[in-house]
């Protein structure tokens, strides 16, 4: 029953992705350049998608392995050293550039761990530890890494456009993607196979960070383009 609902949700997400897929993402010849509002829309859609996938992954795991969803393993995530605004007041007080920077760092920090997660899940599937859920989970993990990569590129473009339009008060250079690499990401999670507990923690952290990113993007959108959507 739950499996079916997950499949349905996955299908819905795919449909959403198709519907929201950018026609001209990178300014090919003959394509009109998207406006900032368009960029924001696409980014928001991507972040929603990402958040949905992460929620599915986590809840899927929880259901099969841990009956009580209140049980949490480690509380620490590998992105703990990225300072993020923790409440509404802090989020409103922070500058737009800093907020964009935080978003980009968060997104950049998940590139490697997600690929590790995918590999680990695939190995689990091959070992027949999991049954059906592991296969779908590994696919979702792969999809998740793709979505996150696209989102990061989209936010970069959006940041460039915002800088051009003068949305940033300080002409601070937006952090480059390469800097967002976390050296601790490799050390934080064990190389090679991750235990199921580690999977769970990673998925919990993933869900949390994707929610942060979605919220920050929403704040950024409403502060830059106060329109009908806010």
């Amino acid at each position: 029953m739950k499996r079916v609902s997950f499949l349905v949700v996955m299908l819905a997400q795919l449909l959403l992705s198709v519907a929201s897929a950018p026609i001209c993402a990178y300014g090919q010849t003959g394509c009109p350049l998207p406006t900032l509002a368009d960029l924001f829309d696409r980014v928001m859609q991507q972040s929603s998608r990402m958040h949905g996938i992460s929620s599915d992954l986590q809840s899927q795991f929880e259901h099969y392995l841990f009956p009580s969803k209140n049980m949490l393993g480690k509380w620490k995530c590998h992105t703990h050293d990225i300072l993020t605004p923790g409440n509404k007041q802090n989020a409103q007080n922070i500058d737009r550039e800093q907020l964009t920077e935080v978003i980009l760092r968060l997104l950049g920090a998940w590139g490697d761990p997600l690929s590790q997660l995918h590999q680990s899940m695939r190995q689990d599937h091959n070992k027949n530890h999991g049954r059906d859920f592991s296969h779908s989970s590994s696919n979702k993990a792969l999809e998740m890494s793709d979505v996150m990569q696209e989102l990061r590129d989209g936010v970069l473009k959006m940041a460039e456009k915002m800088k051009l339009q003068g949305a940033f008060s300080n002409a601070v250079a937006v952090v480059q993607p390469e800097e967002a690499r976390h050296s601790s990401a490799f050390a934080f999670y064990k190389r090679g196979t991750l235990s199921l507990l580690d999977h769970n923690d990673l998925l919990y952290c993933l869900r949390r960070d994707s929610d942060k990113v979605k919220n920050y993007l929403r704040i950024l959108q409403c502060s830059t383009l106060p329109g009908l959507e806010c």
Partner: protein, 622 residues
């Protein structure tokens, strides 16, 4: 295993155990399991106390949150203050060190622990614990969560509805429901992304119809297909986007739309009016179609167009001059008055231009030049297939065209040469190429034929006993007055052709028409007229000039008066010019009546239709 664990967890409360008993009694496949966990349950204390626990933690605005607890079956802990809430916040800074702090704000009446904004951190795990007053007993269950996962937004406010439209059948209608986001949720900043779920039901039913949860936040929703005269109840609740926890439902609003009775009668009236209009339109159409011809005559009276009897009206259209020339020159018209089809059978009122077709070789302009009058008069003409002047005595060889009008004009006679005329006159009559060689050419460029025709239509003044006819030329005035409209056009064409003729060698000259030529041809036979005596010619001298003004080959500087010569009533169409002009024969000059003109009739084959009426034909023909 997992099922068992679930059942164990569920069996912690007595009510759930009763439910399980009922379940096991009803379903047959659970007996083994039932035995198993019943035994387990027996291991537990029969009156196992329910520990104090947290019932729920909720955040409404993602800024603060509250937690409610329950003392469970420990009745001695129900008093406020007996239980304390401690929470643990896993900060980033201190991941390993955990401190348990007491609840910042208690609401003992509600057994609520409230965390204000200073104590609330999002995306940070919280664990709550209940302890006894003396901090000794720690109850096992830790209630752990992160704040973003416990958000249940407040319901929306200011619900309102409008009727969008009514179906054509008048039974269903669509409604748009509008509302505003809850004031506690800060949507404008973007801190909370709230989506809504709308439910509605009929007043009496107990099942709620649920519309799909919105994917994007919208503060309005359309409900389709509501029935008239039924009351509906609508309420809405909120949730965070991509989360599954909903807030409470809003207050209900009631929708009811009653019937609009006037619409039916209005539509009926319009239907009747439309039908009446359609019937009237059909009636008018029928009248128009049935009386089409009459209407056409009334509205569009027929315009006279050129119609030549015996000639297909198609040929008279623009651009078909060659065919017409061919027909006219070949003499089909003349030859077959009986045979040529009557193109105008249905238009008896049509007035015709009756063309005199020369019986000459087709396409040679010289041939066309000779007129019927020539044929009438021209007995001295050689036996060429020329107009008229062939052997004298043979009437059939002579062609003359004349119209036997009523003797309306008196005194106009066309004197034609008769066979009995002296030869010199005859000789003077007929000038053709052969003759023309002998005679001084009226002009240097005189063509082979210098005959100038008399009119097609010349009044017969007298009929000779031997069958000849004395024709009289038309009067000038009358001709001028009675000139048909086509004459004017013809004059213009004549002018044109005259100019043209001036440019190139005139194929023939009408010596009578040019004063100089006239003078030169004084000794000549006056080309037009058979027996014009010299004196009459003299008198007629100004005539040609006069006529010249109206003839195609007129010289422009012939300013002679026009009152002298009698002009024929009808002007012979000499030729159809290539420039679409009709060349008229200058009318005949008045001549002294000394010359009796016996007009030999044309041969039958050359006689154009209409020129000779049947009764006169019998008279005229020998």
């Amino acid at each position: 295993m997992t099922l068992r664990a679930n059942i164990m967890a569920a069996a912690s409360s007595p009510s759930s155990s009763l439910l399980l008993l009922l379940l096991t009694s009803s379903s047959p496949w659970l007996p083994s399991l039932t035995l198993a966990y019943v035994s387990d349950w027996h291991h537990m204390t029969p009156s196992a106390p329910v520990e104090p626990h947290f019932t729920e933690c909720i955040s409404r605005d993602q800024v603060t949150f509250s937690c409610w607890w329950s003392p469970g079956s420990f009745h001695n802990l129900t008093d406020p203050g007996m239980l304390k809430v401690y929470y643990q916040k896993r900060d980033i800074d201190s991941p390993t060190k955990t401190e348990w702090k007491e609840c910042p704000e208690y609401f003992h009446s509600r057994r609520e622990c409230f965390f204000d904004r200073n104590h609330t951190v999002i995306w940070t795990p919280y664990c709550l614990q209940l302890r006894s007053r003396d901090n000794i007993t720690y109850f096992n269950t830790d209630y752990c969560f992160t704040v973003e996962n416990i958000v249940r937004p407040d319901p929306p406010v200011s619900l309102n509805w409008t009727c969008l439209n009514v179906s054509p059948s008048g039974l269903n209608y669509d409604v748009m429901v509008m509302w505003e986001p809850p004031p506690s949720a800060d949507v404008s900043v973007g801190w909370m992304n709230v989506v809504y779920e709308v439910q509605y039901r009929e007043r009496n039913s107990s099942n709620w119809e649920t519309l799909e949860v919105q994917l994007e936040p919208q503060t309005q929703q359309t409900i389709y297909g509501l029935h008239l005269d039924k009351e509906y109840e609508v309420h809405i609740r909120c949730s965070m986007k991509a989360f599954s926890k909903f807030g409470e439902f809003s207050e209900s609003i009631f929708i009811q739309v009653s019937e609009i009775p006037t619409k039916d009668s209005f539509s009926l009236l319009t239907l009747v009016i439309v039908l009446a209009i359609v019937a009237a339109a059909i009636l008018i159409m029928w009248i128009v179609v049935s009386q089409q011809h009459r209407l056409m005559v009334i509205l569009l009276p027929p315009v006279p167009v050129p119609k030549i009897k015996g000639v297909d009206p198609e040929l008279l259209k623009k651009g078909k001059l060659d065919e017409l020339n061919f027909i006219l020159s070949s003499g089909d018209l003349v030859s077959g008055p009986m045979y040529s089809p009557d193109f105008y059978q249905d238009e008896p009122w049509v007035e015709f231009i009756e063309v005199d077709v020369k019986d000459s070789d087709a396409g040679e302009k010289e041939d066309i030049q000779a007129s019927d009058t020539e044929r009438l008069l021209g007995g001295s003409q050689p036996a060429r297939h020329r107009v008229g002047c062939s052997n004298v005595p043979s009437f059939p060889d002579r062609e003359c065209a004349y119209d036997l009008n009523g003797p309306a004009e008196d005194g106009t006679t066309l004197n034609c040469m008769l066979p009995g005329q002296p030869d010199d006159r005859l000789a003077s009559l007929c000038v053709d190429s052969e003759r023309g060689e002998r005679l001084p050419v009226p002009s240097q460029t005189s063509g082979p034929q210098t005959w100038v025709n008399t009119d097609f239509y010349a009044q017969v003044s007298n009929v000779m006993p031997f069958g000849g006819v004395v024709l009289s030329p038309g009067q000038q005035l009358r001709t001028q007055e009675g000139a048909p409209a086509s004459n004017e056009d013809v004059k213009e064409a004549n002018k044109k052709s005259q100019e043209k003729n001036k440019q190139k060698e005139p194929q023939f000259q009408l010596p009578v028409l040019e004063p100089d030529t006239v003078s030169r041809t004084q000794q000549m036979i006056p080309p037009l007229y058979c027996s014009i005596p010299a004196e009459s010619y003299q008198s007629a001298e100004p005539q040609p000039a006069a006529e010249a003004s109206r003839s195609p080959y007129d010289s422009p500087d012939s300013p002679q008066a026009q009152h002298f010569s009698p002009v024929a009533d009808y002007t012979v169409v000499q030729e159809l010019d290539s420039q679409r002009g009709v060349l008229l024969d200058p009318p005949s000059l008045q001549s002294a009546s000394s010359c009796l003109s016996q007009h030999p009739l044309k041969s039958v084959h050359a006689l154009p239709t209409g020129y000779v009426t049947p009764d006169l034909q019998g008279v005229l023909l020998p």
